[in-house]
Symmetry: C2
Subunit: 334 residues, 2 copies
């Protein structure tokens, strides 16, 4: 691999995304992408006694599905990179504790899925191993309980708020494989533009997405039209509009081939999800379900996936802090 | 790089640990290693209005010190790998948000410092960049508040409990440099032996340390006597004794050259720290302060650093879960 420009890593032997799997909750099962997911749950508990245990079960079963679909024996998977939104990433560590695969906890808030794939790609292209598993999960109920209010309160949500996706996305990457391939990885810097509204994560994260997007184009000498589609992780409707406008001001027109996973996963009119989906599983399930299918069927041949994360928590909000954002991008090409 | 045996990565051009820095709190300043740290604080707040903000300031200033000592311009540091114990790793993301270096959040609980150095070494040996910054922090007050009880309660602590180190350790790694060098990295698997006592983390983490230790020896065909010293991150007195005993049962005698950072950092008799130190900063500051000095002055020429982490939180404890452990090991040699 080599470094291109300021921040981008270009892989010499681009790792192959061999298989993916996705499991989602009941709300996502009512959305427009339902048919692309491997499994849709009928309720938020899946037989467990708490939302946290349910989220752990979801990531565990999704990992198991992805490994099974890849037909790679578990003992030939060299590393697992995983993370989630729960305090101390417990969904991943409890869900994946029986895997017996060397485990790396990663945390990039909702950008975790792509952070993991990016790091895994460096490991595989560098020769550290042959196969890696990348997982990320989130759960509407465990996230609301932890970051906002008890669900039982039935609080009203402002129009700029987003709906945390319940589910998990997992990808198996291989040094050898038939693609699609991770060709470039542009890890992001932390960008904090002073947004303090914890109910407007799209606005807080859009400047970080912009920073990574523009850096990626400059580093690779590519422009937006190079990609069949450019997808951000969970800017939602509010953040999507901001990113289009900010990109335009920097001389990049992304309007015709850009969308956001949080916009795609729910039906805005029918599902009352306001600004759209969010959470580690937003980008994780939309990629592992929908996008991977479109790549495999060659509808898309070149995509730029930019997962976005808000590096905040309830303590920092209560202490009057602003919300730092981050965005990690990977080019995936056939 | 290449994979050795089951889990170990052997670096082809071992990255150099070019510089380190450490800042600690007042309790650590009263301990036996005080003279090795770059800065000892007089109080737990350091002029900030909350313990969380103080912890962010500590990691920020430690990173700044490490970069300054390395004499590498910030814009030539390609990546930052950082994490901490606070929910959503806010100490790292808020403390390092002004760095403008591509940022990777990593979470391995108290094993985070070595997890970061291991990943950074893969990036540098693989050719993804030339320099990387690795940071980890913890803070006694923010950790007690978050994981256990309000400090104001003055709860009694059992003899098996450990004292979270207040401080941060940061290391600057370089592709080119004069060492000490990271020659091997053995990332750990999650090991859960069913310990449920949140006041006995040493016992919960010792089996994970054992798993990584034995795997490292088998993968590298080395035995304990190869190293001048073997150091675990924060098993404390309780976990240290368990690890010695478990290793003996597996045929490895580590008694003569093994110690634990949590045992070294406090004076057990005078400081009332029971089983010893813990936290991301335990291994982080003891390595960045004491061990790096011993390597630079050639007192130690070969060390094995095994950072240990308990992948738990207060929710999982309250829900009756056991405590999964993990341990990541790096060989550092002149």
């Amino acid at each position: 691999m080599q470094k291109l420009g300021l921040q981008t890593i270009q892989f010499t032997s681009p790792p192959s995304i061999t298989e993916t799997a996705s499991i989602v909750g009941p709300k996502e099962a009512d959305g427009p992408l339902a048919s692309y997911f491997d499994k849709c749950l009928e309720d938020e508990f899946w037989g467990e006694s708490s939302w946290e245990k349910a989220e752990s079960k979801i990531i565990k079963e999704t990992a198991s599905l992805a490994i099974g679909k890849s037909k790679i024996p578990t003992d030939q998977i060299d590393f697992c990179f995983a993370g989630d939104l729960l305090n101390q990433c417990i969904s991943s560590s409890f869900g994946l504790r029986d895997l017996t695969i060397p485990f790396f906890g990663v945390f990039g808030a909702c950008s975790t899925f792509v952070e993991g794939i990016g790091i895994a790609s460096v490991f595989l292209d560098g020769g550290a191993g042959k196969n890696a598993l990348c997982c990320a999960s989130s759960h509407f109920c465990s996230a609301e309980k932890q970051f906002r209010f008890p669900l039982e309160l039935g609080n009203q949500r402002p129009q700029s708020s987003q709906w945390t996706v319940t589910g998990a996305g997992c990808a198996v990457l291989s040094k050898d494989g038939t693609g699609p391939f991770v060709t470039h990885f542009t890890p992001g810097r932390i960008v904090d533009m002073g947004i303090k509204d914890a109910n407007n994560m799209g606005a807080a994260m859009a400047p970080a997405a912009l920073d990574t997007l523009i850096t990626h184009f400059k580093d690779t000498n590519r422009n937006p039209s190079y990609y069949d589609v450019i997808l951000t992780g969970d800017l939602g409707y509010v953040g999507k509009e901001i990113l289009i406008e900010l990109s335009q001001k920097q001389g990049y027109n992304i309007k015709s081939n850009y969308n956001d996973c949080g916009v795609l996963i729910f039906d805005k009119e029918k599902q009352d999800t306001h600004s759209g989906g969010s959470g580690c599983a937003c980008c994780g399930t939309v990629f592992s379900g929908f996008l991977f299918h479109e790549l495999k069927t060659k509808k898309y041949k070149k995509i730029l996936l930019i997962a976005t994360g808000a590096l905040t928590n309830s303590t920092t909000s209560q202490q009057g802090e602003t919300i730092p954002g981050i965005a990690h991008a990977i080019s995936i090409e056939l």
